[in-house]
Subunit: 239 residues, 2 copies
């Protein structure tokens, strides 16, 4: 079976030949589907968009990790979204840290990925003790947690759809600023440089500047399963 | 209508929503099709693979041009393949040169592109006088032309299918060496770093080394309309 994602901004399709639909559900927030495939292993789709695969396309997490270039082996990390645990797995393998907090709005994502992307959830107990999961709206969570301080904050969310758009707002960046340490790193997934420059990347940079973030860079990277194969993060720093 | 290319190496599809099939023929060498599309303008397919578009995806030619980093405003350029004239157009706009020879095996490519990719063939007469077209098999042409000397030779061909595979052979590289000037640049399109590393990139590098090419680099670049969105050139130099 051909499972495909249609990108209406570019009028293009990307498709993966899959063997089987393994799981399909609808949560309060989104449609969740998991397929099995030969090339990519299990494949997660949210609202008919490819999100993560088990094999061959982990450029997204690799690139995000590359941007965490702090020399701090006690770093405290906050991930908003990221319920697939791809990023937690990478950080736990390659970085030294004292704490990772994951704030995921949709517990069904975590439960689905625990079953179909098992490898992302395999940790020894010393790592496990440093990872906390909060099932909550990241926007609201950040607003009320202004007593915490992080070295790294990553927004690993979907594009600014009705659920995620608050995570691209001026007021959210203001609240992020409160809980980020001096010189702390803020990383936001920022869509495709080919099709989202005007509507996501440019306005995000403007809002970050308004909130006094410095050293703002766009980091583009190859992501074969996302529309047109090129994706981006915006990395910035708190002065 | 959805026009799609299936990549059997990765079990993936890429598709473009097109308006109309403008032209379809079969030459002695390949199936040629041209579609019209909203995002990409006219789209050329050879043997059901996307080749070039009028708009939005000229990373291939841009990247090739970036690799021609000679400081020689009288340079002589040879292009094997390239009958779509995308590369000739780019070079003529951005570089200074005394001569471009294009050796294309299939005159139907040139005739089709003259009609449906008109912009690639628009030159003023001073440029026109410096461009020559030879309808010939590039492999044979290079073998017999060992009295010519070029500063830059580019292989702008399809992947090593039955027609193009001679252009990836040891003996071809030996003959290229004869007609390349000292320190001359040789650029070969070398498929996708994701799926063609073992079968195209690695053996090509080995053959270039065997033929004493130096400064061999793989240059990967984003190419949304090619399978999995990442493509490559191998650039090398004659000692």
């Amino acid at each position: 079976m051909l499972v495909k994602e249609y990108c209406k901004k570019s009028n293009t399709f990307f498709g993966i030949k899959c063997q089987k639909l393994l799981y399909s559900t609808k949560s309060k927030f989104q449609k969740i589907k998991v397929y099995s495939s030969k090339t990519f292993g299990n494949v997660l789709m949210l609202d008919d968009c490819f999100m993560i695969t088990e094999k061959c396309s982990d450029h997204y997490h690799d690139e995000c990790l590359r941007l965490i270039d702090l020399k701090n082996n006690k770093m405290k990390v906050l991930i908003i979204g990221g319920g697939d645990f791809g990023l937690v797995k990478k950080i736990s393998k390659e970085k030294s840290f004292s704490k990772i907090d994951v704030v995921e709005i949709d517990d069904k994502i975590i439960n689905t990925c625990k079953k179909y992307f098992k490898n992302n959830f395999k940790f020894n107990s010393s790592i496990k003790n440093k990872v906390s999961i909060y099932i909550d709206d990241g926007y609201e969570w950040v607003k009320k947690k202004n007593n915490l301080k992080y070295d790294v904050i990553i927004i690993d969310c979907t594009d600014p759809n009705p659920i995620a758009k608050k995570l691209y707002s001026n007021i959210f960046y203001k609240n992020i600023n409160y809980i980020l340490k001096k010189n702390g790193i803020f990383i936001q997934q920022s869509g495709s440089p080919v099709i989202d420059y005007k509507k996501i990347i440019k306005p995000t940079i403007k809002k970050l500047k308004n909130n006094n973030f410095k050293k703002i860079i766009i980091s583009a990277f190859h992501m074969p399963i996302y529309p047109l194969g090129l994706w981006s993060f915006i990395k910035s720093q708190k002065p």
